[in-house]
Amino acid sequence: MGESVTLTWTDWQAVAVPLALAIGAVAVLLVDAFWRSATAQLRHTVVTLLTGAVILFGLVFVWAQRDDFKPAFCRPAVEGPAECSLVFEPMTAGLWAVLLIGGLGVVGLSAYRLLASDIPVGEYHFLLLSALSGATVLAGARDLATVVIGLEVVSLPSFAMVALRRDRRGSEGALKAFLVSVLSTAVMLFGISYLYGVTGSLYLTTIANRLAGLDPDLERVAFAAGLFVIVGFAFKIAAVPFHAWLPDTYVGAPVEVTAFLAVVSKSAGVAGLLVLVTTGIAPNGSDLRTVVAVLAAVTMTVGNLAALRQVEAVRLLAWSSIGQVGFLLAPLAVGDAQAVVGYLAAYVVVTLGAFGSVAVVQRHRPGGLLTDYRGMVRSEPGLAVALIFFLVVLAGLPPGLAGLFTKFAAFQAVIDAHLGWLAIVMAINVMIGLAVYLRWVAELFRLPADDPFSVDIESPAVAMISLCAATAAVLSVLPSTMFALAT
């Protein structure tokens, strides 16, 4: 019988951010629910500011503690180092920063006049903050129970957000995401149960230690269990072949929510998988890593190929995000946290920007076809240049150096791990990915357009897109900032 777990000041510090987000979530809900007298604009603005403030607090907190190592909810282990449920360390800081920046971006995209008017503001922000809270927990989790809880706290609000508009499309999208996710949770839990069975612990470090000295008979069981856990996350991040729900859900949800799914939800999944792979179930040299590498190769290839002929902007982004996840999985498969976090950072920023731009266009042209963007470089030069920049970053070509260097880091990680075949697949996918994005860029440049897109863009959108572009530009010039997120 171990000693009882007592909460210390360090524990509180480590969970401060998730806690603050959760409290913020409740506060937002309360404000929206009980302050009915204010005008919609005022209420919306206050809610936005409140949400933003909470997330900003989290960011500042992360920034202040970025170099610290703060384990929380620890107890001395039977063997080996202390077992902790949640750890704040530099990698966590990097992941939290990415998640929070993503959340902040989504809040910005959901500012007044941007968010569809039929979405209840309070619930929306409540769900957003809840999911963020879960995401941060997931990124810091060091035991499987916390992982499961964190994952669910991210997922369930996301589905609610997809369906928040309460229309046919939203409900269908939510249903698809929900069903696939629940199946994945069940599979993952099934795997966890076996993992627990063979190792007798849920703490990742302990599992890692015990896996090393496992009875060979049980090794197969442990491997299968680990596989199930990874497959659970593969659903979450929509790795092929567990991706099919993603395009439909992305198209069905409001664009802001899609941005949320693509940025926060997906990052959370990657963060969780990263934690699992690096600290727990897939130690260096494990066959599970090979499985992840295979998943990476298949995911990026299928994602990019499917994106090749899409004619709708959101669907193209959906498929391309699958491709991007493939690229993320590649350094993940070799346990290179730095490359993963860096990639995630660039991905989050430009995906936000891209969805922001798409949201602007979609609000005025609901069709959402790529042809709607024709000639925009002349009619809406600012927006077009920003969008082109985002796309080029996603493709990983100059001037989008942020994307180039994150891909570079991914290549480097893979090469250092002697996965030559994966590197070749990645190289081919760089080409396919470029083909995907160039089609869109070409539309933007095509002149003359019959009916060019030209509107008065809402100022919050301008601010958000400019911010994303500026951040991406800074990351391009100083790519080391991205990689400094997790050192």
């Binding site: 698809k176 069903l179 199946l183 599979v187 072949p241 099919a244 439909d248």
Partner: protein, 587 residues
């Protein structure tokens, strides 16, 4: 205005060359090098030298070029600016070859000449035969030049220098020497139109006649002879090369003379005669003796005079009548008009033909005899090569006399037997259905054209005595007899009005079609094959990649059915698949 400037420049430049030759005559040999850069111990750069050979060639080039430039003032009316500029450039290139002491400088002149000849032969680019002749000239000489370049590599790398004056046969291994000189010989064969690269020269005849004169007399083809004379130490040190050269020369001189016997156009006869005469020079050089070299150079000089003269004469015919085909000329001759209307041309051409045929007293007689004599001496020294050369030169002398006389008689004289008929050339008369030509306006060319003729005609006689007359009477007698032996059949055939031309000779041994079939046709096929390969093999892969991408993409779109249970099924199947795959990896 511009044309006038270029005319002045052209004539002036040629005169300058003559003047330079005059100034350099008797001066101390000198050398200097410039613009050098060194690569890996090899110096790559330019160098010039002046010595007797240089001066001799400069004089020849200068005089012929001056004659051609002056003659062209009257001859050429279309696009004179580019013409005169190119002739000047042509001359300059030859001068470069002559003064070069660096193999690369020599190569520059060598190939610029090729380019100039291409451009000048194609001067009448409206004409199909001029176009193809020009291309052919350039390509065949270029083919030889590749060998020439490789020869430079072999010798230069072997000797560690590209300076001609520093190439010492004693320091070169015999393998390098033989390979290098043989490769150089390839270039020479191409440039001087020897067998097997002989076909371009006759086809180059559509060019303006003065250009032909320049090419055949002083530049281009003479460069080959000059080159061997310049590198004579090297060539003489390699017995293999000399043997090859002798065989090439012997075959060429007979081949070309035979072709000339059946040609039915003045310029074509002359072109073949050039090939044949050059072969005589090469034969002299192939002896490997200083006598032989001297004989060859002597023949080069006299040949420059009479061949230049002959081509300029042919130019007059072309200029005044519009054609140099036998059949056209016969239309005038059968009325006896040609000789009377063009007295100066007739006279000078007679001199030229006599010199070419080796009629005693004319320059060609002496120079050819020197070659024969050198060969004779060499043969007496016990050289088989000498005998080969001797026999072939003697035979060629007879054949030369035949075609010269044939040309002279058929062009200028009525045939009593034909009683005013055109004769044996009627078959290929392009104007057979035309009316009789109006001969009344036919008159000799203006004096600006005739004066070079006269000058060269004088040279064609005088030059024979320039070297001092040391005639070997036996040799002289033998060659004279041979000339007579050659001339008699020509006369008797003419007087009977017959001109039997064996088909094989008329087709020039079928070499040209053979080359066409051997090289041009396969090249065209290969070209089509390459294009098709790019399009249907390499390009097909690229296109197929793109199409596969599109198809796969469409496939993925199809798989996106919208049915969530399909997705779930796919996912479960995916789990199983990954489990199986992992099992495979794990085991």
């Amino acid at each position: 205005m511009i044309a006038t400037a270029w005319r002045v420049l052209g004539v002036g430049f040629s005169l300058l060359v003559v003047l330079t030759a005059g100034l350099l005559a008797g001066a101390e040999p000198g050398r200097s090098s410039f613009l050098n850069s060194s690569i890996d111990g090899l110096t790559l750069g330019f160098a010039v030298r002046t010595d007797d050979l240089t001066v001799l060639l400069l004089a020849v080039v200068g005089v012929v070029a001056t004659c051609v430039q002056v003659y062209s003032l009257g001859y050429l009316h279309e696009r004179p600016a580019s013409y005169h500029a190119l002739v000047a450039l042509f001359t300059a290139a030859m001068v470069t070859v002559v003064v070069a002491d660096s193999l690369f400088l020599l190569l520059i002149g060598w190939e610029v000449m090729g380019a100039c000849s291409y451009l000048l032969i194609g001067h009448y680019w409206e004409r199909r035969d001029a176009r193809s002749g020009a291309v052919k000239a350039f390509l065949m000489t270029r083919l030889g030049d590749v060998g020439f370049l490789f020869g430079i590599f072999v010798l230069g790398v072997g000797a560690g220098t590209f300076r001609i004056s520093e190439l010492d046969p004693a320091e070169l291994s015999s393998g390098v020497l033989t390979t290098g000189t043989l490769l150089l010989l390839v270039g020479v064969v191409g440039k001087s139109a020897q067998v097997p690269l002989q076909t371009w020269l006759p086809d180059a005849m559509p060019g303006p006649s003065p250009v032909s004169a320049l090419i055949h007399a002083a530049t281009m083809v003479a460069a080959g002879v000059f080159l061997i004379a310049r590198l004579y130490d090297l060539f003489a040190a390699s017995a293999t090369t000399l043997t090859v050269l002798a065989i090439v020369a012997s075959v060429t001189m007979l081949f070309a003379a035979l072709c000339a016997m059946a040609a039915v156009e003045v310029k074509r006869v002359l072109a073949w005669s050039t090939v044949s005469q050059l072969a005589i020079m090469f034969a002299g050089l192939s002896l490997g003796t200083s006598d032989g070299r001297h004989a060859a150079l002597f023949h080069l000089v006299t040949h420059a005079a009479f061949k230049g003269l002959l081509f300029l004469c042919a130019g007059v015919l072309l200029h005044q009548i519009g054609s140099a085909a036998f059949v056209v000329l016969r239309r005038y001759t059968r009325r006896g008009r040609l000789r009377k209307a063009l007295p100066v041309t007739f006279a000078t051409m007679t001199v030229g033909l006599a010199a070419l045929a080796g009629v005693p007293g004319f320059a060609g007689f002496f120079s050819k005899d020197t070659v024969v004599e050198a060969a004779w001496h060499h043969a007496q020294d016990g050289s088989g090569l000498g005998w080969v050369v001797l026999v072939s030169v003697c035979l060629t002398a007879a054949l030369t006399a035949f075609y010269c006389l044939r040309l002279w008689l058929w062009v200028f004289f009525r045939t009593p037997a034909l009683a005013g008929g055109i004769g044996a050339f009627e078959d290929d008369d392009p104007m057979a259905d035309l009316d009789e030509p109006d001969t009344s306006k036919l008159r000799d060319a203006p004096w600006v054209m005739l004066s070079p003729l006269v000058l060269l005609a004088i040279a064609s006689v005088v030059l024979g005595y320039a070297d001092g007359v040391h005639l070997n009477w036996v040799v002289g007698l033998v060659t004279t007899v041979l000339v007579l032996l050659g001339a008699l059949p020509a006369y008797s055939l003419w007087s009977r009005g017959a001109d039997p031309r064996p088909v094989v000779l008329e087709r020039e041994f079928g070499v040209d079609p053979l080359y066409h079939r051997l090289f041009a046709v396969p090249a065209r096929w290969l070209a089509r094959l390459t294009v098709a390969g790019d399009r249907d093999v390499i390009g097909a892969y690229v296109r197929a990649t793109g199409r596969t991408g599109t198809l796969v993409s469409q496939g993925f779109r199809r798989m996106q059915t919208g049915n969530v249970q399909t997705y779930l099924t796919a996912a479960v199947v995916g789990v199983v698949a990954i489990a199986v795959l992992a099992g495979v990896i794990g085991s």
